[in-house]
Amino acid sequence: MAKTFTIDGKVVPFEEGETIIQAARKAGVYIPHLCYHPEFKPHGSCKLCTVKVNGWQTASCTMRAGENMVVESNTDELNSERRTLTQMLFVEGNHFCPACERSGECKLQATAYDLGMMTPHFDHFFPNRAVDASHPDWMLDFNRCILCSLCVRASRDVDSKNVFALTERGIKTKLIVNSKSGKLGDTNFSVTDKAAQVCPVGVHIRKRRGFAVPIGERRYDKAPISDLSHEAAVEVK
């Protein structure tokens, strides 16, 4: 008999060592997340995936599943805290969706839709972050970075290039490029890198190919991010 735990009352089987979010995905239960990606070691930084385990809050992408755990996820309380997290991400950067190439395909935007975010609520920081367009085929718009570290992990663990890094701490944390000039054009980054495919938002942009998919046909126009078809099609390879 497989070991099991419950999420919002639903019985979920798991294998020893699996995290709650991994077991949930296999069982077809969506838990909101931004910094988690099934192909990478968890980072546990965005906290969108926070659930309650036996009454205690914890990140479901880093917490291992345990026998008979009672997990709450899709509750008003947790979703309202998740909504607050997305609002903070929106005001910390510059997210002008109408002019963003990733709009309609962006996980931050889609997650905010799914959580019913009608307003960013907080005062905007309006930070001043320069775009890096030094690479012939690739552009980095740091205004949209949510510091999920996925490109950092992909470049380090899959591409073995270490092109990206997060530096400084707390509210000052930022994404940098590992080259003397700090420019992407001075690295060995290539558009075929894994790091080029993992950004959940619109920082990593291929040049000369913006707005290729018409409004109405983009990934999250058709079905909300909580729809399980995305989980199968987009990430589980």
Partner: protein, 180 residues
């Protein structure tokens, strides 16, 4: 005996630092505007050309705040409207005008007005002073409801208004909620 005529809700609308696109979207409710007019009457609005907002049940603001006049108008709306709605991206988060926020205001004015020969920065006392940064309206007054979108669709605006008229908390489904 005829039933007493239902008192209509009074609605005011205006465009601050916006492009009137959201008002165009409001008109996209098409013939439903006739149904709407059975329930509401318009106070200050581009539709009526009344210049100041009187006592209203609902105020609808398009656009954010880019100059001092925008702030005065917004405050007048807040004082007079029981319910204030931010309509569209610019009112909700600053939108396109706020894309100037990473540049300094003097730099922008110089670039726009002084880059040609004999250009001067307009300085007529009639002109409202620009704000240093463009702000969404919730950063200055309390806003009760938000309709995101650039612009929100006529259907989204219709949904929020009809929810409010029905005394319900407005909600937008996946199809109607978008930020672009």
């Amino acid at each position: 005996m005829n039933a007493p005529e239902k008192k209509k809700l009074r609605v005011a609308t205006c465009s601050l630092a916006g492009c009137f696109g959201c008002h165009m979207s409001l008109l996209d409710i098409d013939e439903r505007i006739l149904t709407l007019l059975e329930y509401v009457e318009f106070d200050r609005s581009p539709i009526t050309d009344i210049k100041h907002c009187g006592k209203c049940d609902i105020g609808i603001i398009e656009g954010g705040l880019c100059n001092a006049e925008n702030v005065h108008v917004l405050r007048e709306f807040r004082e007079n409207c029981s319910i204030l709605i931010a309509m569209g991206a610019c009112a909700v988060n600053g939108g396109l005008p706020a894309q100037r926020n990473s540049l300094s205001l003097p730099e922008i004015l110089e670039e726009v007005y002084c880059s040609m020969a004999n250009g001067i920065i307009p300085n007529d006392p009639e002109l409202p002073l620009p704000l240093n940064k463009v702000h969404p309206i919730h950063e200055v007054v309390k806003v009760d409801y938000f309709i995101p979108g650039c612009p929100p669709s006529g259907d989204a605006i219709w949904k929020v208004l009809t929810d409010l008229l029905a005394g319900k908390q407005p909600e937008l489904s996946h199809e109607l909620l978008h930020y672009d």
